[in-house]
């Protein structure tokens, strides 16, 4: 059969089926089950009205349960069985096996790296872009260009960045953007500025931000503030965040030192994607490139929503631009920043396409979602694969619960 015709048939059958279901089930309810006539007309109308919503929601409900509810439990069950033994129950053997694989821990480590870097960088760049583009005349054009990567698929973005990281043999002309730029550095003053000072500043800025965020999170622990008292859980989370920020700051300060002293192989092309550990960051750059537009758009709307009076008052009180930004604007849009951050975190935890298309987890770039795909569809090991899916689920759950809580609050 002609494929176009086939598509049309699918649509016709699908939409027609749905409409027919809605229409006829409604009809049956009104005419035959609870007819609005006879002795019990009033009671029947009430009953029909009680049942009707379920009639309409039922197909969605059914498919959601079938396709979303059941698979979650099935994955949980599969993670406790072994395919090689014909699906026999093996308890936590799969998890044990997974824990003993270095590749799994590599994936965990990389996921944590992604989790720290990508949401932070995307949100920070998004905030920066939102603030800067609001101040210039052609800001809207800049905005629409920065947002454009959101329209390109992750795979498409990966293909572009493959070209950027491309390396060719020493004697051939370099095609990859990174290597073309890299070969211009010979170790002179500009190399010093661009490859040492600049990254060092970036790293140092990250250290400051991490320490500051940690400080902000932990501050209520020793400050007395009006408001409801916080539980032990909340206090623990604050203490953890504070310590974590401190640790991150320490790591990045060490990174500054490392950048300043590392010996760089000037003059020869580098195979960027095979540099262990650092290639993770090169992959993260792709996701940051994509997600900044999203962060920018949401944060820009939030920035516009800040009441003018607060800004005017601050200016009259003599606030400098930086003070104005960090002490007046940022605190007022903190809620939005958190939402953007968590949304990007959700994306990051499930990151798959980019790693799959760029390195497929080679050279120490494995992440959980790709590890799972490897196990399920290449090694055909549903036990360990499902176990890693459950790990992803467990990592997502805190944000999930928080999101559900918020969404329900919003919709009341």
């Amino acid at each position: 059969m002609n494929p176009a015709l086939q598509g049309l048939m699918t649509i016709a059958v699908g939409v027609g089926g749905c409409l027919a279901y809605f229409y006829f089930s409604n009809l049956v309810l009104d005419r035959f089950i609870f007819p609005a006539r006879g002795a019990q007309a009033g009671r029947n109308i009430n009953r029909a009205n009680m049942v009707r919503p379920w009639l309409f929601v039922f197909p969605a409900f059914f498919f959601l349960l079938l396709y979303l509810g059941y698979p979650v439990f099935e994955t949980l069950r599969l993670s406790l069985t072994d395919r090689a033994l014909g699906g026999a129950f093996v308890g936590f053997a799969n998890y044990e096996q997974m824990m003993n694989e270095p590749k799994f821990w590599e994936a965990m480590r990389n996921n944590m790296l992604w989790l720290i870097v990508v949401p932070a960088a995307s949100t920070a760049f998004g905030l920066l872009a939102a603030q800067l583009t609001d101040r210039i005349g052609w800001g809207n054009i800049a905005k629409s260009l920065i947002f454009m990567p959101m329209a390109i698929s992750f795979v498409g973005a990966s293909v572009i960045f493959k070209l950027i990281y491309e390396a060719r043999p020493v004697d051939a002309a370099q095609i990859g953007v990174m290597n073309a730029v890299w070969l211009n550095f010979e170790g002179g003053i500009w190399s010093f500025i661009f490859l040492r000072v600049f990254p060092a500043i970036l790293c140092g800025a990250f250290a400051v931000i991490a320490a500051y965020v940690g400080y902000l999170a932990a501050r209520p622990l020793w400050e007395d503030r009006p408001g409801p008292r916080e539980g032990v859980m909340m206090k623990g989370a604050r203490a953890f965040l504070g310590l974590f920020g401190l640790w991150l700051a320490w790591v990045s300060v060490r990174g500054v030192w490392g950048v300043l002293t590392a010996s760089l192989p000037y003059g020869e092309p580098i195979n960027w994607l095979t540099l262990p550990f650092y290639n993770n960051f090169l992959l993260m750059v792709i996701l940051i490139w994509i997600q900044t537009g999203f962060a920018m758009v949401i944060l820009s709307a939030a920035l516009r929503g800040i009441p003018e009076e607060t800004i005017e008052a601050a200016i009259i009180d003599g606030a400098k631009p930086l003070q104005l930004f960090f002490q007046i604007k940022v605190p007022q849009i903190m809620g939005t920043i958190v939402v953007v951050w968590t949304t990007i975190t959700l994306v990051v935890l499930k990151i798959f396409d980019i790693v799959f298309a760029m390195t497929n987890g080679q050279w120490e770039t494995q992440v959980l979602a790709n590890y799972m795909y490897d196990k399920l569809f290449r090694a055909n090991d549903w036990g360990v694969g499902s176990a890693s899916a459950i790990v992803i689920m467990a990592l997502v759950t805190p944000i999930l619960v928080w999101n559900v809580h918020n969404a329900r609050k919003e919709m009341r």
Binding site: L68, M148, V159, I175, T343, Y373, I392, M393, V396
Partner: protein, 314 residues
Amino acid sequence: MADPGILGSTLPAADAVRERLSGPHGPRPKRALSGTNIMLYGTLLIVAMYYLLPLYVMLVTSVKGMPEIRLGNVFSPPMEITFQPWVKAWAEACTGINCDGLSRGFWNSVRILIPSVILSIAIASVNGYALSMWKFRGSELFFTILILGAFIPYQVMLYPIVIMLREAGLYGSLTGLVLVHVVFGMPINTLLFRNYFAAIPSELFKAARVDGAGFWGIYFRIVMPMSLPIFVVALIIQVTGIWNDFLFGVTYISSPERYPMTVQLNNIVNSVQGVKEYNVNMAATLLTGLVPLVIYFASGRLFVRGIAAGAVKG
């Protein structure tokens, strides 16, 4: 210099005269090259390079010939523009044994896209309407399930759905993939529609009721015409989401004949045989991104809204 104060008595001419007499006034003009401005433009330049360079390189490379690319000069504009790479990416590039380029993937994607978008929007809008119209026992539960469904990572359901599709005889077929897209797009879209419909004043519904409109009458004559923006937003979410999807395509389609465009793009780029043709790869990327990009430039603000609303899904 005369004191401008005494001129205050001759009011009509005062402003003009004062301007002459008191010299420059008003806020001090800003210097074009102040420290803040240098920092502002410097940062903007770096940010712009990071975001635009990849797009620029993609575009430029896709219209260069291979000999020109081999010379290096990544950033230079093409010496002569050739659309050969585009033609090759569309009709000749090889994946495995098939050498008919992206066109196959494009038509597959279209055949996946159209039914799944229409179906999911039809179902989701009716559900959202039903949810917003009635508050019934159990609607809270349904609601929570919807929100959970919108947020749960797809990875958790990936494999059991393979089993289910296989048992239904749909594994590897486009119909199976359409079904998956419809179901997974439903939670977020239903929530969107429900929120939008809930904001419609209930008096309108009551008035329509009094005028004799039933459930469907209200839906088609009151709700739908009023809610065009949300339909467009849902359309954008679904079209870009489904078009750019990779995970489902690579998981639920078993034969290269039926791969959607994104999967085929990945296969073309990663195929190991022969020389790497960068220009064909870039042209293929552009071709793959064409549908969402066209929608983006055509719909502007609504696109941004759609992406922002759809960003939360699993």
